[in-house]
Symmetry: C2
Subunit: 448 residues, 2 copies
């Protein structure tokens, strides 16, 4: 890698050569490298060596800790230079992680227009379209020619966050259409922009939730999307790179909920112990309380357990298997809902599918189990009891497991909550009730 | 929506008006609408009405079922027109879902160059960079001026899958650099392309796995990425829209594995019952067998259970709670590994974190449980036994839960396998061993 050579050049004070070498590197790689220095003062030396056109890019990829460390070492003039080159959405992402003193200093050093825009953007709720967007977009008039539009693009494109799509507005900034840069490039110079424009523009509003924005990007395969205010005036653009981050955040939240945790605001390593414990303990207590109902079933059948102590040793396997079977079905359905593949109206089809899947899977598991119990204990009746329980318990668990996420979504709850841990506490008592009842039916010596 | 009005126009045979109305619609919306017709012949009528420049786009968004139905209704000449307008990566996606007869017909109707390219692309393994890429990229010579480069872009851009990045090659098609279209637009006409070019190009090879490609896109915030062959000759480009689909597939696979299922090739609704059952039953059997070890522990302590039948009723709660605690830790770590946030070298830090989190969470759960058992049964010793078990079992489960995914990754296994279901079968026997041993220690009447 470039690290060793660069450090050597810097130690030998060959700054011009170091700068040249940095110029050939990728901004993300440099940022990753600078992050490793933590509070080492060499990070600042290297950052100052970066060519002006790279510095803002590298800065936007740094961790919040490195950003803070570097900003604290920069003069007001240097800081203003970085802020000026940053896209406003990246500046907002950075400021959202900084202490108030740094936010104040950044806003004070920014020029008047940037300051006004930053104050506006920082007012949007953190998970809204407004907080993801940047006002740096390409805006055209419909009556311009292609030649004039291209001249405008060439003059302004360096300050625009996205130039793949150009937005056509009327005199009062109302969004009236969108043109692909590609169509403009391909068209003859004299063509009018509004002849190329698509009037059916997909746009979001500033207060729309970022999850809805991400869903629109996914559905329409977008690279950029305009944001309008309540009067449909164009106020910003959201670019795909920010949406990829949102999709990832949403997935993390779903996965955390499926494992019975409240999602954290930040990454695992950056979240403190107290917050992690708080995000988990409430779920553990709730699930613990619901699991006690399973305990009541065991207490209710204590006479049967006393009559045949072997029965108790099958309890863990029956609980685990039905819990696993239920969570397989629920997680499949939850993912299908997230991807827009399964809707509430599919409930009958999903249940019919799971009925057949669970019958097949249940019979497979039961067959293996029958042989195992028979061979281990030489007791075909016990083997039959346990295996029949498995078939019915797997079927019941899968039907509940596939139905609960859809029902949750229907009443406005998050389907991800209806995953493994919760399904298990529903599937467990069903499995044990089936077990004791089938045992009493087939083993005449037992009594409830 | 546009549906009712369009159907009316078509029934009244006002085709010109219908076409005009379709022209204003979004391609994704039209495709979604056509999918709802299934095998209805009106889908074909509407498809034929689409303006030529929209037809290929709409086609690329159709479900494989609708694509097949429409292709079967088109003449060879119409089909050739659609294929010509489709980007090659979309054609490959489509062909990968079609029966052999349709693949043959498409390849036969395509022009010579397209046919050669399709045959080449279809040879790459399904999850490789080669199968995601398209050869339709913008290629420049380094010694061109900006004016000449822009003229080339304007002439060729309509047939290129991505024009955000332009690739500079030498005389033998070796990739030597990349230029942002934005820099070309912003530069003066007389500037040379190689003065604007970045020589440190991130590229993948045709046989690289699509998961690695997606990781590169995520890390470097890319919109497009060049693909080279073993001699570093430029052969194609991968665009972000395909990568978003890959990221989603990878997430689905991870989530399925975390719920102890073999991921399906296609969506839940499109996967047949037999495949679903097969993907689930093996895991259920494996986990069932490992759960029987927990049963052996119960059998081992049958004397204690016989002496105090109340003990058995706590088994489900202890098993569920320790399983949930372990899967919380494992899922947090698995997600951290996926996002590149946690590495094997973090193992000591992660374990130290989980030790403290589990102590806090364990004490919280134990406190609630102590009160509940004491109030319900008036037996403070039993309350103490169960609560102490909870603290230690939660700590053990979380430590195992956080360590196993990292160890799995270390030895080259997929960390996602070390999620809830597997952690549960490890945490369960630990919880029961702790329970019986603590009970025998604190309740003098019991004997193992």
């Amino acid at each position: 890698m470039f690290h060793g050579e660069l450090l050597r050049l810097i130690e030998e004070k060959k700054f011009a050569q170091a700068r040249e070498r940095l110029n050939e590197c990728n901004e993300v790689d440099i940022a990753e490298w600078l992050d490793d220095f933590e509070k080492d003062s060499r990070a600042l030396v290297i950052f100052r060596l970066l060519p002006k056109e790279m510095a803002a890019d590298v800065f936007s990829y740094l961790s919040p800790e490195s950003q803070q460390h570097i900003v604290e070492g920069l003069t007001d003039r240097e800081l203003a230079g970085v802020i000026e080159d940053l896209f406003l959405d990246d500046t907002v992402d950075f400021l959202e992680e900084m202490p108030a003193s740094i936010v104040k200093r950044v806003i004070a050093t920014a020029d008047t227009q940037t300051r006004a825009q930053l104050n506006q953007l920082l007012m949007y709720p953190p998970d809204s379209a407004g907080s993801l967007m940047t006002p740096e977009l390409m805006e055209l008039d419909g009556d311009w020619t292609v030649a004039r539009a291209l001249a405008a693009v060439r003059r302004q494109c360096e300050d625009k966050a996205s130039i793949s799509w150009l937005y056509v507005t009327d005199g009062r900034r109302h969004l009236v259409g969108v043109v692909d840069l590609r169509s403009v490039l391909a068209a003859p110079d004299a063509q009018r922009v509004d002849a190329l424009m698509e009037p059916d523009v997909k746009a979001v509003r500033t207060h729309d939730d970022q999850a809805d924005v991400a869903a629109m990007f996914r559905k329409y395969d977008l690279l950029a999307m305009p944001v309008v205010d309540n009067e449909r005036r164009l106020v910003g653009v959201i670019t795909i790179d920010d949406v990829v981050d949102v999709l990832e955040e949403e997935t993390t939240e779903d996965i955390y909920k499926m494992a019975a945790m409240t999602p954290a605001e930040r990454g695992y390593m950056e979240t403190d112990v107290l917050t992690l414990a708080k995000n988990r303990v409430l779920w553990l207590v709730l699930l613990m309380i619901s699991a006690t109902f399973t305990g009541f079933i065991i207490a209710r059948f204590d006479a049967a357990l006393a009559a045949n102590v072997l029965l108790a040793s099958f309890i863990p396997m029956l609980m685990d298997t039905s819990g696993n079977a239920g969570s397989q079905a629920s997680v499949s359905v939850i993912r299908g809902i997230t991807l827009g593949e399964i809707r509430f109206s599919d409930l009958p089809r999903v249940m019919w599918k799971e009925l057949r899947v669970s019958l097949l899977a249940g019979m497979g598991v039961a067959a293996v189990n029958f042989l195992r119990v028979w061979l281990m204990y030489g007791d075909p009746v016990m083997a039959l009891v346990v295996s029949l329980t498995l078939v019915f318990a797997i079927m019941a668990a899968k039907l509940v497991g596939c139905a609960l996420p859809l029902l949750a979504a229907r009443v406005g709850l998050d389907p991800a909550l209806m995953a493994g841990p919760l399904i298990t506490t529903v599937a467990d008592p069903m499995a044990l009730l089936l077990f004791f009842n089938i045992a009493m039916l087939l083993m005449p010596g037992l009594s409830g």
